[in-house]
Assembly symmetry: C2
Homo-oligomer: 349 residues x 2
C-alpha cells in the first residue's frame, strides 16, 4: 500500500519530531549526525518522497519555470529550450516545456496553468500581443521574459533577434545574385517575427532601388514543411512571366518543404530557383542541397533569456532590458544567380 507516507510517518519511525525531519531535508547542518542518520534511514525505509505541493504552498513559490513555444516540432524552438535549460537547470530550477502550437487560446491556457502553479517564471514566445498576460503574470509575482520577440519598453525583459536585419540580409543576398522577382513566403499567422522578416525584405528592396524589381508575397497555411509544399505549388501555378526566380522563406521548415516540392517537380535548386531559409536548423545544413539560411543564435537566445529571468526572479533591483541578438547569413548551395532568359525553362509536371 504505502499510498502516501508523509513527514509525520518518517518522524514517528525515526523517533523524532516533524521539525527535525524537515531540518534534515532542508538545513542538514542543523542536526546532529546520528539523528540525521536515523532520519535518513527512516526516509529510505519508508520510501518517503517529499510532497512538493505542500512545500510550495508554504513557500509561496515553486522551483519550476515554464517555457512556452510556438511549435515544439520545430527544432529551432527546442534548441532555444535547451539553452534555457542550460542556465536554469544550473540554478536548480526545473524547466517544463509547453507548446502553444501558434494558437492564442492554447497559449492563454498554458499561461493560466503556469500561473496557477505559481511558477518562478515564464519564458514565452508570444502569439500576438501579450501585454495583458504579462501584466497578469507579473501581478502574481511571476517573472516573465519574452523570447524571440521584442517587448515594449518597460513591460518585460526580452531577448529577440534582429529579424528586420535578418530578412534584409537574406533578400540583399538574393538581389546581389541578380534576382529581380523574389517571393517572400510567410504564414497566415500574425507572429511579429515573420512580420519583421517581411519588413526586412522590403527594406532590402527599397535600398536596392532597381526599376522593375518586385517582391511577391506568398502565404502558406502554416510555417511547416507542409506549408512549404503548398507555397511551392502556388509558385509553380504562377504564369512564368511573373514567377519569381527566388524565395526567401520565413523559416527553414518552409524552405525545406519548398526545396523538396520544387525538386520533385523538376525545378532544380539553385539552377532554376534559389531559396533562402531562416533559423539555420541542423536540417538546413544536412539537406542534400544544403540550404542557405539566416542563422539565429538559438541556444544563446535561450541562455540569455534564462539569465534575465534569474536576474528578475532574484528580486534584486531590476530594470527590464531588451536584448537584440544579431543574425548571420549562412550561404550554402541553395542560392545562385538566376538562369539567363535564354536558358530552358523549368519543366512543369
Amino acid at each position: 500500500m504505502a499510498g502516501s507516507v508523509n513527514i509525520k510517518d518518517v518522524a514517528r519511525h525515526a523517533g523524532v519530531s516533524v521539525g527535525t525531519v524537515s531540518n534534515v531535508l532542508n538545513r542538514t547542518d542543523r542536526v546532529r549526525s546520528d539523528t540525521r542518520a536515523r532520519v535518513e534511514a527512516a526516509i529510505a525505509e519508508l520510501h518517503f518522497v517529499r510532497n512538493e505541493s505542500a512545500r510550495q504552498l508554504r513557500a509561496q513559490r515553486s522551483r519550476i519555470a515554464g517555457v512556452l513555444v510556438l511549435d515544439i516540432t520545430n527544432p529551432f524552438f527546442t534548441e532555444v529550450a535547451r539553452g534555457v535549460e542550460d542556465v536554469l537547470g544550473a540554478a536548480g530550477l526545473s524547466v517544463v516545456l509547453c507548446d502553444s502550437d501558434t494558437d492564442e487560446d492554447r497559449q492563454d491556457r498554458y499561461i493560466q496553468l503556469l500561473t496557477e502553479q505559481r511558477v518562478q517564471g515564464v519564458l514565452v514566445v508570444p502569439v500576438g500581443p501579450i501585454d495583458r498576460q504579462v501584466t497578469r503574470l507579473r501581478r502574481q509575482g511571476i517573472s516573465v521574459v519574452l523570447l524571440d520577440s521584442e517587448a515594449p519598453e518597460g513591460l518585460a525583459c526580452s531577448v529577440s533577434v534582429d529579424d528586420v536585419g535578418g530578412g534584409r540580409s537574406a533578400v540583399q543576398h538574393l538581389l546581389a545574385l541578380g534576382h529581380r522577382r523574389v517571393a517572400f513566403v510567410g504564414g497566415k499567422g500574425r507572429e511579429s517575427q515573420v512580420a519583421d522578416r517581411a519588413k526586412g525584405a522590403h527594406v532590402a528592396f527599397l535600398q536596392h532601388d532597381e526599376p522593375g524589381a518586385e517582391l511577391v508575397s506568398v502565404t502558406a497555411r502554416a510555417l511547416t514543411i507542409e506549408g512549404g509544399y503548398e507555397a511551392a505549388t502556388q509558385l509553380l501555378g504562377m504564369p512564368e512571366a511573373h514567377r519569381p526566380t527566388a524565395a526567401f522563406c520565413s523559416n527553414d521548415l518552409l524552405a525545406l518543404g519548398m526545396l523538396r516540392e520544387l525538386s520533385a517537380e523538376g525545378v532544380s535548386v539553385p539552377d532554376d530557383f534559389s531559396i533562402v531559409g531562416y533559423d539555420d536548423i541542423d536540417f538546413a545544413a544536412a539537406a542534400t542541397v544544403p540550404l542557405s539560411s539566416v542563422r539565429q543564435p538559438a541556444r544563446d537566445l535561450g541562455q540569455l533569456a534564462g539569465e534575465l529571468l534569474l536576474e528578475e526572479a532574484s528580486g534584486l533591483a531590476h530594470e527590464h532590458r531588451q536584448a537584440v541578438l544579431g543574425t548571420e547569413l549562412v550561404v550554402r548551395a541553395s542560392t545562385a544567380p538566376p538562369r539567363r532568359k535564354s536558358a530552358r525553362r523549368a519543366r512543369r509536371a
Copy 2:
C-alpha cells in the same frame, strides 16, 4: 501589491463564506445565480487566480501528466508528445514535456521531480532498465506508461513498435536490391530500441542466407545529424574492398547526416550508396534525395499511450497491456541496387 489574493479575500469582498467561493469554482450548480454573479464579480475585480498547490495538496493529486523523452530536438519524439497531448488534453490534463537527453541521471531527476509533484501519470521513453523507477512511481500512486519500449510483463502498460520487424524490413529491402555488405549504424547508448533494430537487421541476414553477405556494425557518438556525419566518415575510411554499399541507420537524424556527408564527399546516393533511415520524420521525405525510411506511427503511439494512461489513472480494474505497433517501410529515392563492380568508384575527398 496584490501579491497574492486568495479565496478568503474573494469571500470577504463578495460577502460570502470561503466555502461558497469554492463552490462557485468547483460545483457551480450548487450556488444560486445571483450569489454566483457576486462571487464572479469579486474574482474578476481582485484578479483572483486559484492556487494550484493548495488545491493539489487537498486533492492529493495534480492535473498534470509528464512526458519524458530521449531527445527533444528529434522531431520523432515531439510528434509522439503531440499524440499524447491530443488525448490527455481532451481529458483535461495538462502535459509537460521533459527531456532526458538520453542521460540516466537526468531521467531520474525528472522522475523525481514528477513524483514530488504527485502528477497523475508519467509517460516515459526509458534510458536503460527502468523497473525500479516504475515501481517507485507506482508506489506513490502515479500511473506509468512506457513509450517506445516494451515493458516486462505485468510491470506497466507500454506502447512500443516492432523494432525487430522494422529493422528486418529495412535490411531485407537492401538485400533484395542486391546489396551484400550492409552497415548497421547505431549509437554508443544502450537504448533497447536501437538494440532491437540491430537484431532485426541480423534476422534479415540470417533469413537471407547468402554466402559472403556481411553486416557491418558502425557506432556513432550519438543518434544525431552530427553522429551521421561521423558515421559517414568512418565508412569512407574503410578499405574499399570491405566497404559496405548500403547502410541502415537506426534513426533518420543519422541517416540525414550520413546522406549529407556522403554527398559532400562526392558519393552519390543512391547510385554509389544506399541509405535507409528509421522514424520517417517529416524531414526524411523533405530531403532532396527523399529518404527511404521505416515509418513509425509516432502520433498514434503517443495517443495510444495517452489512452492507456487515462485508463490506468481512472482507477478502474486495469490489466497492464503491451501494445506493439507495426512499422511500414517507405521506399523513396535513397535506395537502389548497388553499382556493378565495373563501375567507377566513389571519389575520395
